[in-house]
Symmetry: C2
């Protein structure tokens, strides 16, 4: 038999579980309840593709889970179907509809609301799997990332820009300038995740402190910045399609 290159370093402990105590033989086959096996596959796939990207091979994934690549294809007709399931798992299942409401609760200061939202949001997405899969998918040009960011734009960025306007006594649809300021705050947060999970750089232990600092800087600086940027330049802020 050909020796196979292993991506992960350790043998999957799962695969050892049922092996006979007396010998270090090949691990016995595990016959699981299909729903249980499916979960195992999905979670294994999320971890695996987050690590090596979607070009990772099914055989390596299977070995890590403790099964064979044909078994994966019994549960998902094609690799593409499995990947689609991974998107679903990562994006849809981790989106909290109440986030938008969080930004609107007017019984708390905007500062508190923003801090509360970003603490919640980062708690959901600031992890190895989510961030890397999101970036891998973006590079691949998968349309679900654009739909997700459309959701961010309409449910987070625009409400945020609106709240900023309200606190300035303005109203109506946010201008490109105001949208851009809101994106900037969001970008700060996301870049933290990029630093940590894409480039493996040190990031602060306590995200709460960074969030608070970014939010305060945002509320403190945005009004002045928007006033100071000459009106003549604002036309340049209109989005440019590719």
């Amino acid at each position: 038999m050909v020796k196979r290159k292993t991506i992960g370093s350790e043998m999957p402990e799962i695969a050892r579980m049922r092996q006979t105590a007396s010998s270090a033989r090949k691990p016995k086959r595990r016959r699981l309840d299909p729903t249980e096996r499916e979960r195992e596959i999905i979670e294994g796939a999320v971890a695996f593709f987050a690590e090596v990207g979607f070009d990772g091979g099914l055989r390596d994934l299977a070995q890590r889970i403790g099964t064979t690549h044909q078994n994966l294809l019994r549960y998902f007709p094609t690799k593409e179907a499995l990947i689609e399931r991974v998107y679903e798992e990562v994006y849809l299942n981790r989106w909290q509809p109440e986030w938008e409401a969080l930004l609107h609760k007017s019984d708390r200061s905007l500062e508190d609301r923003l801090v509360a939202f970003y603490e919640d949001y980062l708690a959901a997405i600031f992890n190895y799997e989510w961030v890397r899969i999101f970036v891998f998918a973006g590079l691949k040009g998968v349309d679900i990332t654009q739909r997700y960011l459309g959701l961010i734009q309409s449910n987070i960025i625009e409400p945020l820009a609106r709240e900023l306007m309200v606190s300035e006594g303005k109203e109506g649809k946010p201008s490109p300038l105001e949208m851009e300021v809101a994106w900037a705050l969001h970008g700060e947060m996301f870049y933290l995740a990029i630093r940590r999970w894409v480039y493996a750089l040190d990031t602060p232990q306590d995200l709460g402190a960074v969030i608070r600092m970014s939010v305060i800087r945002f509320l403190e600086g945005a009004p002045a910045a928007m006033k100071k940027v000459p009106a003549a330049e604002r036309r340049g802020l209109l989005p440019k399609a590719l």
Copy 2:
């Protein structure tokens, strides 16, 4: 002959150049000066890997350039060697040593210096090839990205934090808190590039205007933010290793 899947859509026009006028035959082989061919390969490789990632095949790359994959291997002994050359091309060749000095010129306001620097910096990196290759390399865990970001940290972020301190009348080595504020400004800028070149979202036409707004917001908000974040929390800003 087996039909080959093409990544790009159009036939490379180069390959057609010398073909006989009378017939639509197979393009003649082009015998180039080696240095010229090498440049063609390198530039083709940068564009190709930026688009599809480093898992892209040599045959597809070769077809796009208008040659064969064997010819690539005559110029670079292995695929890995070619990729290494791509890193060199993208990172080292586009780094401007004078950037650090730009931040220190004290005859201009800090605002002007920051705007000037980021206009220069984004002019160098805000493009499809640089951004995507940088992200692909980061996900792959290539050490050159960490070296590059180390350069950013010591030559840009820390000087920036120092300038911020000077403008506040402080001096000495920047604290983690001050470093984090500086990273936040940088992150805003880089996230613009991510939005545009990874997620293909609309971004403002005139980067100058966004840069100015971010810089003003930075200078306007940072002092207040750093004062307001309770000292007790600052310990949490200490970087955490992975």
